[in-house]
Symmetry: C2
């Protein structure tokens, strides 16, 4: 049986609250018993440096009672993953993040450790990469990774920061729903639209939606539909 | 001297008007004297077929007095480009569009013909690909082209459907401006944010912004700024 411990969080920050504030109890419980969490700062939100980004995450994790070091601080990042008990991958640009993971050959290392029980938490881009591929990211393709295949820690795709169409909008760019429909013209996997304020908790063969909101589920050739935190999400892991 | 005739349109449709209605005079004038325009339907908005998409464009172009055929109708699309006098590339998904152009080896054919005076019009994704690369598209990467290098008909990048930040929004996804700032952490070229209702007209060594709105210009390490239709855009072609 494969062991899995994943916290797949839509966004680090919800409107009006501090960094990771709305889900801090879930984080404390998820990493409970672990002394140090390794932070992967590769997604560089707004183009900030690895150091600047690690400082932000570190401050919050220290406050929650965990030590934290950035993966960029290690001479050998693969070895750092092999020795880690917990990882937090922050959001930013999904293409930049995936490109760095590929270039540092970290994908197999993370996959292997997760299958042995390493606790993995991601927000936004860090959640996107837990899916089969990042073909459903909202981010701008500012760099071009070799492949869009991701960590595949779950057998579906994510769309974090899922946004409902705004009926008052006069903007003609595609809605998120239209984009995911276009994705299904070329791809088959289920996409979970995870709204800001929601997260998925995967533990072994159980998966649940947490937070106050429903999630929107997109299956190829089906009308998209909503599932609530009380609903059964287990079909997603089959 | 290189000859160029380009109409780089932000969107096919503005809110409340029909397909290509707001810019129909510009289209008529741009393709004036040309009997038949070739339509490139590869971007497949909403996943519709090449046939369905060509029907939409054809209807409008016929109404404006032009014959039109879809590029997918030709046995040899490279030859069709070589024989064309005018091309219109419709919007949809930029990744799908670029991938198809690459797979059909059409990029050099279009570049060569444009340098000999072929008139090229694009909307949305069809405008994105006139830039150096499509790293500044807003679209979802639902397929993964070999490269993001585009037609490079102009020496800068485009961001069609440019959208100002909404000060009332509670959504935490990146604003367009933040995304383009992240782009400039890895890339050097100027990006032109082209709002819905605007288009660029390039003729030989002249370039002008048309439509009622200003455009937002993003240069690396500079504060973004606005240029109006009456301003001089010629620095963009240098």
């Amino acid at each position: 049986m494969s062991i899995k411990n994943l916290l797949i969080v839509s966004t680090s920050t919800v409107h009006g609250k501090g960094y990771l504030a709305y889900c801090e109890e879930a984080i404390q419980s998820f990493f409970s018993g672990i002394e140090e969490v390794i932070f992967i700062p590769y997604a560089r939100p707004g183009g900030i440096t690895h150091e600047e980004y690690t400082e932000v995450a570190c401050k919050k994790f220290n406050e929650l009672g965990f030590k934290m070091r950035g993966l960029h601080e290690f001479d050998n990042p693969i070895e750092a993953i092999e020795n880690a008990k917990g990882i937090f991958t922050g959001g930013g640009n999904t293409f930049v993040l995936l490109d760095q993971l590929q270039k540092n050959n970290l994908i197999p290392a993370i996959q292997k450790k997760v299958s042995k029980g390493l606790r993995y938490m991601g927000t936004s881009a860090g959640s996107n990469i837990t899916g089969l591929t990042v073909n459903t990211t909202n981010d701008m393709p500012i760099v071009h990774p070799e492949s869009l295949n991701a960590l595949a820690l779950v057998p579906f795709n994510l769309n974090p920061h899922y946004l409902d169409p705004d009926p008052t909008s006069k903007h003609m760019g595609e809605t998120r729903e239209t984009r995911i429909k276009e994705f299904h013209a070329y791809n088959n996997q289920v996409v979970v639209g995870l709204r800001e304020g929601s997260w998925l908790h995967v533990q072994d063969n159980k998966i649940s939606l947490e937070g106050p909101l429903s999630a929107r589920i997109f299956e190829k050739d089906k009308t998209p539909y909503e599932l609530n935190p009380s609903d059964d999400f287990s079909f997603l892991l089959k």
